[in-house]
Every structure is written in C-alpha cells, then in structure tokens.
C-alpha cells in the first residue's frame, strides 16, 4: 500500500494545479477558478491524511515515503552530492498535513477578500503551497534551502499586488530583503556544514540522514559557528525578538487569507528548521546555544505580549500574540527535554489551529467594518452573534484553558523547561519557565481586552445601520466550525498527537544526550 502513495504527487500537485489555472477554460470564469482551487485543496487535504493513515513508525530512522525527483535519472547537482530527495518523518508529516489544512482554509475564505486578478492570485497561493510542502518534506539541506528561498517570490507578489494599504509594495520589498538576508546566512551555514562534512568524512552528501557531525575531528567551534549562522536565518523567519520588524508591516498589509498563512505555518518553518539543523545535525553545539536561546524565547513570549496589550490595532494584537506563541515553541525546543520537545511539537499544532481561527475572526471583523482600530469598534456581538460565539471559544482556548488545545502545549513546554536535566543550567531554565508562566496572565488580559472592546461594550450606531456589517456567511461558518471542533478534539485527546511523536521525541533527546 505504501508505494502507491506518491510523495512527489503530494508536493507538486498544487504546482500543477496552479499551472492548469492558466488553461483557456478558466479565462474570465471567476467562480470556476475558485471552485476548482477549493476542490483541489480539499482533495489534497484528504490525500495528505492518507499519508498519516499508512504511516509506518517502525521503519528505520522513521522516514517513510522516501522518493527522489530526478530528470532522466540524473540527480539534481550530483557533483555536490545534492539530490532532490523527499521523505516524511512524523514531524514533517504533521506539518505537511497542517499546511494542507491551512491552505484549504485560506482558499475557502479568499472569496470575499480578493477582488482582482483572481487567476494570478489562486495560482500564486497554490504555488506557495508547493513551496511549503517541499520545504517540510525535503530530505536534503540544499533542497530545504531552495524552498526556503523560493517562498519569497509568491509571498512578494501576494503582498505587493493585493496589499491592503498604500505602502504594500515597500512592505513586500522589506519582507523579501529581510528574509533573503536570513536565508543567505543559512546558506553560508549549510555550505560550511557541507564542506566540513566533506573534509572530515570525505563523503559528498547533503542528505539530512547521512550527515553525521558527531566526531572529534569536526571542530566544536565550527559547529557553533554553523549553528549560529543557521539560527540567524531562522530567527528572522520566526521571528525572534530583535529581528521582527518586518513581520508587523507584512502581516498588517497582507490580505486575510495570506495573513492566515503567514501567522500560522510560515512561523513553523523556523521551528522546523531549528529541529532539523540545530538539534538533529548539530547537537553538540546546540547544548551550548540552547540556554541563550531560552532567554530569547522568554523575551519573545513576554515582550510581544506586553506590546500586544498596548496595541490599539486588532491586527497587530494578533500578530504580536502569534509571535509570542511562536516563542513558546522556541522555549520548548531549547529546553532539550522530552516534555519540552513534546510540548513544542504540540504547540506547533495548537498555534496553527488557534491563530488560523483568530486571524480569520479579526480578518472578518476588519473586512466588515473597514477599520482595525480598536477604539472604533465595539459591541459587535449585537450585530454578529455567531462570529462572537466562535471568537469566544477561540479566545478562551488561546488563553490556555484546560481541555482546549491551547493548554497542553504550554503546560508541557513550561514543565519541560522547569524540569530540565541539563547540568549547571537548571536554575537558569527554572527562571525562564517561571517568567514564561507569567505570560499566561498577560495573554489573558490582552485577549480579553480584545474580546471586550470588539464584541462587548456598547454597539456603535453606525454598525447597526450599516448593512455591510453582516454576520458570517456560510463558508466562513463552516471553516470556523471546523477550527472549533479541532480545538476541542485535540484539547480533549492530546495523546493522539503526543503518542504519534513519542518515538521521534525520544530520538531527539537521545541525539542530544549522547
């Protein structure tokens, strides 16, 4: 059964669909384009679920569905040992399914926000999906980097051509330059790793599973340099505290579907990269770097929440709190313990579901009322009762209420950080954990402020008269319903995910301890 599932089809079918949109059948037919993309995305999501069903965790190394893309039997750049090798281990698989899910949502809700250049828009989104899937499924450093860099192009166009504000072109340029800078640091890191691997072992390879750095011949300072160079790239992508200035403008400018993608899966790219490069490939260096990273994570968690609390723009509240939530992933990864890693991976799932929901809610509010200023909003619960119901559930989950998906990730992360077993640094980590726990209060006050100002309080008269401020439409209802169901199901049964990743996490901890 396993062989009949083609990972290449999974990755490249969105690209093919994107190209198909330029066929003459689709010219000028907006509804057809929209329905085709939605139908395709649904099928794609179903197909990606099949990969989970037939996943076999017993395979050596945990990597299923290995397959190489080659033209006429020749590897991509064989001279440098670079292959277009794709494969899924459990972490990649989870992220691939999440990506497919998020893109499905984004395509469904595109209906109301996109008013021009439909064909180009839908094909760019599908192209972006291929890039994301390829990034998560890549088994080769350079292939990973290729998709990392290729992401920039569709996002540049999505932001600059459909941006909401006048400065969207400048913002898109800023985004590209900032991220391109990060990706080139990553490139230097990858090249150094590749070169040193060749010098030490004389094997020319860039495959994640073939690169072994654990060797006294591989100088430690070199590992640390490579690790830091890679981290700079991921820190910009994540973003980590001092390097985040691009994210605010970008997400504020992006249309709602693009903002959903940017706030969810795009932030996981960096977390995934840290697992692949800094933990799996360079474990010795990570032991030295992790305590510093924990500090940055704590700053991320707290600082962004305080900033979010001070914001008057609801879009900015979402962006800042999502960056703070990404900080929790970072804290979990830097804690180097079983619980921390499990928490981080669970938080990736929770982050995606919750922020897809919150971005959607905020996007709908902004679209209907044509403002994102919190002072201009109020009492929307009277005019949009159904939206308020969903917003309430999502916000409560975000605060971290038990039995909902936002709880377990945080709990495990803080616990993992508190109980870390690294010598000399246990007090350090305990301080980080305690400080991060404070974030729960800040988060609650921040989210409740948002809820209160937007949905409760007195309703403005203009919103009662204005007929465009209508409650959610059917397709938005459907999407929000799915999100809420996911929030509750994964909140009630977190072990469904944690069991899946258990072997993977054990392996990570093992790699770090040896």
């Amino acid at each position: 059964m396993e062989n009949s599932l083609s990972i290449l089809a999974l990755i490249f079918s969105p690209l093919i669909a994107a190209i198909l949109l330029f066929l003459p059948i689709f010219s000028g037919k907006v509804v057809l384009i929209r329905r085709f993309s939605k139908a395709f995305a649904s099928l794609h999501f179903a197909y990606s679920i099949l990969f989970l069903v037939f996943f076999n965790p017993q395979i050596e190394g945990g990597i299923n569905y290995l397959s190489e893309f080659s033209i006429a039997g020749i590897s991509w750049i064989k001279v440098m040992g670079i292959k277009m090798m794709f494969g899924l281990d459990i972490l990649s698989l989870l992220l691939v399914i999440l990506t497919s899910f998020v893109f499905l949502i984004a395509l469904i809700v595109s209906k109301n926000s996109i008013k021009t250049k439909f064909k180009f828009y839908y094909s760019l989104i599908l192209f972006l999906e291929t890039c994301m899937l390829g990034l998560f499924a890549a088994r080769d450093m350079f292939l990973f980097f290729m998709f990392f860099e290729l992401l920039l192009i569709p996002i540049y166009f999505l932001i600059s051509l459909w941006g909401e504000e006048d400065n969207s072109k400048t913002t898109a340029m800023q985004y590209v330059l900032y991220t391109f800078l990060g990706s080139l640091f990553l490139l230097v890191g990858i090249l150094l790793l590749h070169a040193y691997n060749f010098i030490v072992y004389e094997s020319l390879t860039a495959d994640f599973s073939e690169i072994i750095v654990k060797n006294p011949d591989f100088p430690l300072f070199m590992q640390i340099i490579i690790s830091i160079l890679c981290l700079i790239g991921f820190a910009i992508k994540m973003p980590i505290a001092p390097l985040h200035s691009w994210a605010i403008d970008t997400c504020k400018n992006a249309q709602m579907p693009v903002a959903i993608i940017m706030n969810t899966v795009m932030m996981l790219v960096a977390g995934y990269g840290i697992v692949r490069f800094n933990i799996e490939l360079l474990p010795e260096a990570f032991v030295y770097i992790a305590p510093i990273l924990a500090i940055f994570a704590t700053i991320n968690i707290l600082y962004f929440l305080f900033v979010a609390f001070a914001q008057n723009d609801i879009k900015k509240i979402v962006i800042y709190s999502s960056m703070s939530s990404a900080g929790i992933i970072l804290l979990g990864l830097s804690s180097m313990s079983f619980l921390g890693f499990s928490g981080a991976i669970f938080q990736m799932l929770a982050h995606t579901i919750l922020f897809a929901g919150l971005t959607l809610v905020v996007g709908i509010v902004c679209m209907r009322t044509k403002t994102s200023d919190i002072c201009e909003l109020g009492g929307l619960g009277h005019v949009m009762p159904r939206l308020m119901g969903f917003a309430l559930i999502i916000c409560v989950a975000l605060i971290g209420t038990p039995l909902m998906v936002g709880f377990e990730g945080r709990f495990l992360t803080f616990l993992g950080s508190f109980n870390t077993t690294i010598d000399n640094y246990d007090v350090w980590y305990k301080v980080c954990a305690v400080l991060s726990i404070l974030s729960v209060f800040v988060c609650a006050s921040c989210i409740l402020k948002f809820l209160h100002k937007v949905f409760f309080a007195n309703v403005f008269e203009k919103y009662q008269i204005d007929t465009s401020v209508a409650d959610i439409s059917n397709h938005e209802f459907l999407v929000l319903l799915v999100i809420v169901v996911a929030i509750i199901i994964f909140g009630l049964f977190p072990m469904s995910i944690l069991d899946l990743v258990e072997t993977f996490v054990e392996n990570l901890v093992y790699v770090l301890q040896v």
């Binding site: 006429a72 440098m80 290729l150 192009i153 330059l177 230097v188």
Partner: protein, 479 residues
C-alpha cells in the same frame, strides 16, 4: 614546415579573418539598402568558425608558433562559448544596424574583429600574443562604441579609449617587470622559472600590475568607473556584445594566468579577494539608485564579475569549474535580459524603469520570461542563477576559513542586489492610468526567440545542471 602542420590550431580565427575581409570588401560595393546582408554574412562567418573548431587538435595539449599559441580543451571551451554567445548576440543588432545603415558592413567587420581578438586572446600562451589580442579587442570595442549616432556614443568611446590606454600601460609595465626577472614572455617558461625560487617583492608587484591592468576590461574596481558612463551612451545590443565577448575572453586568459605564471604570489590572492569584495560592494550600492535599466545592467555585470573573480583568485580545480559554470549560466541570463531590453527599445518604452508600468498586464508571456532572467541574476531557485550561486559560494567556502568574512560581505551584497533586481519586476507589475497596450512582439521576431531560448536554457540549467557541471569539471581538470 611546422607552420603548416600546426595551422589547424588557428582555423577558427582564420575563418573569422576571412569574413572580416569579405565584410570590408562588400562595404565598398553594397549601398545602404542592403544593410541586412551584412548581418547574415556575420552569422555565416561565426557559424563556419564554430564548425571549424571541430578540426582543431586539443588532445594532447598542443603548442604552436614558437609556443605562442596553446590549444587544449580549456581554450576550446572558451572559443566555442564566445562563438555561441556572439551567434546569439548578432540577432539582437538589428535595430542598431537599421539606425546607421550606411555603416552596417563596417560595423559587422568590427564585430568580427572583436571576436577575432577574443579568440586569439583565449589561446594566447605568451604575453606578446596576449597584448596583441588585447589591443585588437580594445580598439574594435572603441569603434563599436562610437558607431551609434549622437554625441553620447562618441563621448563614451573617447572615455573608453583613454582609460583603456592607461590600463594597457599599467599592464605592459607589469609585463616588463616580469620579463626583467624571468627573461621570458612565455607563460610556461615563466611558470617553470619561478618553480624552485622564492617569489620576490618585485614579482608580486609585477603580477599585481598585470592583473590591475586587466581588471579594466572586466569592470573591476581600480578602473571600473567608466562602465556606467559608457553604458548610457550606446545602444543596448552593442553593450551586450561588449559586456559578453571581451569579458569571456578576459576571464579565459585571466584564469589561465592565475593558474600558471601568476600563481606564486600570495599577495595577489589577497589583493584580488579584496578588490573583488570592494567591487561587489561598490557595484551593488551604485545600482540601488539607478532608474535606467542599462546602467543597472552595467552594475550587474560588474558585480557578477567580482563574484567570479573571487572564486577564480582562490585557484583550484574545483574553483575553476565553478567559474566556468557561473560564466555559462550568467551569459545566458544576461543575453536574455539584453534581448528583453532590445525588444523594449523597439516599442514605445524607453529605458527608464518607471515606464515599465502596466507591462505585466499587457504582455504577460514576455514579462514572465524577462522576470525569469532577472530573477535568475538575483539567484532565485529554479533558475541557473541559484545553482551557480551555491556552486560558486561552495567553492569559496572550501578554500578556507580565512575567506569567511569576505564571503559574508559578498552574501550581504547579494541581498542588496536582490533589491534592484526585484525593483525592475516591481515596476512591471505596477498599475498606471496611462493605458498603453503596447504589444511588443511584432517586428522583433529574432529578439523574442533569443529571449525565449535564453529563458529555457536558464530553467534547464536550474533544474538539471548535472551534465554541464560535469563538463566544466572535466575541462577544469584538464587545464
């Protein structure tokens, strides 16, 4: 008799020389209305010359004419490469020829002379032959620059000529020093002379002088200011020729010089790395403010030359192969961009970036190809630019940790370059109220075919570069 037995080594050059004669001869008899014939004669000449390359002996390495000419797979690679790229470039000269019909035959004669100089330059094995070829290239370049009507082309030709003379003087000074030390002009003899000796300061000075004299031609710092001025004055197709043909030949001879007679000086390596880094910074920063796409291209050529020089300075077989691959991928992307600009010149658009507005919506396929070539220059994946970028940078990384700071600077300049490349695309996607549905494809059939061809090559080299890289490694190994 030796002369006639070795004559096959210079058959391509002889063919070109013959066609220069034909062009000049016809220029006396054909009137201006037959200007199109001259282009086809050039094409025929280049084609025959390329065909004659198959007669040239390259295995084993072959020397001729008192060791002044060398022939191996490396020279053959560059000769064929020069001929192929000039074959593509001829098709772009249509507009330049039409603007000055009465001189079309003389222009084509100059163009062929430039190719002749480039071919001889690549196969030179002593400094005298090299100097001769260098001057053929410079002088023909000067007159090609002056070919266009108007004041600016004359001005740029004069500037080019004066700076070229200064650079040549410095080059000759270095050669004279080298001759003083080693008593020879021949590359192999100089290489053997220094084989068992400690290189002296005089040697280093001579070597640095030679390279800085040559750096004029590839647009590297000490003499690079001319490049932007000149690019503004002349028509695009001529600039395309001048930035490809002489540069390829120069890199061909420069890499050979760095491998053989100039390889004993560590100072030179560091000077070159430093110069390359400075040039990368200078060219990329200069390009940021350019709103004229031709000036932007000038900076782009300079910047890319500096990356290639960086890798070439750290001599090794692997680095040499990356240099060759980078040149291949760069030339095709660059010719694609030049073809696109030539097409733009034929339509109501000028060279100013802000006139490209609305362009993506009226000419989608053209914009796609143009964007692929531009993004290829920026090193975006799926194009050959990406592969050549990682291949070149991997060579620099392998050369040692000492160069890591320079590498980081180069990487930063690549980020800067992303800005101005993307700017071009940004303008094309911008909407403007001026509805001007200029469909550019008509009357420029050959240029648009060249653009498509270059785009396809760029994509193919980006997706399956393996065979080409293997070829480059084979050639680099045989040097």
């Amino acid at each position: 008799m030796e002369f006639f037995s070795k004559i096959n080594l210079i058959l391509p050059e002889i063919a070109i020389l013959l066609f220069i004669g034909i062009q000049l001869f016809l220029s006396f008899f054909c009137d201006a209305s037959k200007y199109k014939v001259s282009k086809w004669i050039s094409i025929l000449g280049i084609f025959i010359s390329a065909a004659l390359c198959s007669k040239v002996q390259i295995e084993p390495i072959c020397y001729a004419f008192n060791n002044s000419v060398i022939s191996d797979s490396f020279t053959m690679f560059f000769k064929l490469f020069i001929l192929i790229s000039s074959f593509l470039l001829v098709f772009l000269t249509k507009r330049a020829l039409a603007a000055n019909r009465s001189n079309a035959f003389r222009f084509n004669a100059l163009f062929l002379t430039n190719i002749l100089g480039a071919l001889v330059l690549v196969s030179a094995n002593d400094f005298l032959t090299m100097f001769l070829a260098l001057e053929i290239v410079s002088v023909s370049s000067t007159f090609m620059l002056a070919y266009d009507n108007g004041y600016f082309s004359k001005e740029s030709a004069l500037k080019f000529f004066v700076i070229s003379l200064v650079a040549t003087a410095i080059f000759l000074f270095g050669v004279a020093y080298l001759y003083g030390i080693s008593n020879s002009f021949n590359f192999s003899e100089i290489y053997e002379f220094f084989d068992d000796k400690q290189p002296t300061l005089l040697y280093s000075m001579a070597v640095i002088m030679i390279v800085s004299g040559l750096s004029f031609k590839i647009g590297i710092l000490p003499f690079s200011n001319w490049i932007v001025d000149i690019y503004e004055g002349s028509s695009t197709s001529i600039l395309g020729i001048l930035s490809i043909v002489p540069k390829l030949a120069l890199f061909g001879i420069l890499t050979r010089l760095l491998v053989f007679p100039l390889s004993y000086s560590y100072e030179l390596t560091f000077v070159l790395v430093l110069i390359a880094t400075l040039t990368a910074i200078w060219a990329n920063l200069l390009a940021i403010r350019q709103r004229n796409i031709k000036k932007l291209l000038a900076c782009c050529v300079s910047a890319n030359s500096s990356y290639v020089l960086f890798s070439a300075a750290l001599v090794s077989v692997y680095n040499l192969s990356t240099v060759l691959f980078y040149l291949i991928s760069f030339v095709f992307m660059y010719i694609g961009v030049v073809a696109a600009i030539v097409i733009l010149e034929n339509s109501p658009f000028s060279n100013k970036l802000y006139e490209f507005k609305n362009f993506a919506y009226t000419n989608p396929i053209f914009t796609l190809c143009f964007a692929i070539c531009i993004l290829g220059l920026a090193g975006i994946p799926l194009t050959s630019g990406f592969v050549s970028k990682i291949y070149l940078l991997s060579a620099i990384v392998r050369s040692g940790l000492v160069f890591l700071p320079f590498l980081i600077i180069i990487v930063l300049t690549i980020v800067v370059s992303m800005y101005y490349y993307l700017n071009v695309i940004r303008y094309m996607f911008e909407k403007s109220d001026k509805v001007e549905s200029a469909v550019v494809a008509h009357k420029t059939g050959s240029s648009i075919i060249i653009l498509y061809f270059c785009t396809i090559i760029t994509l193919i080299l980006g997706l399956c570069p393996e065979k080409v890289i293997e070829l480059c490694q084979l050639i680099a190994y045989n040097v």
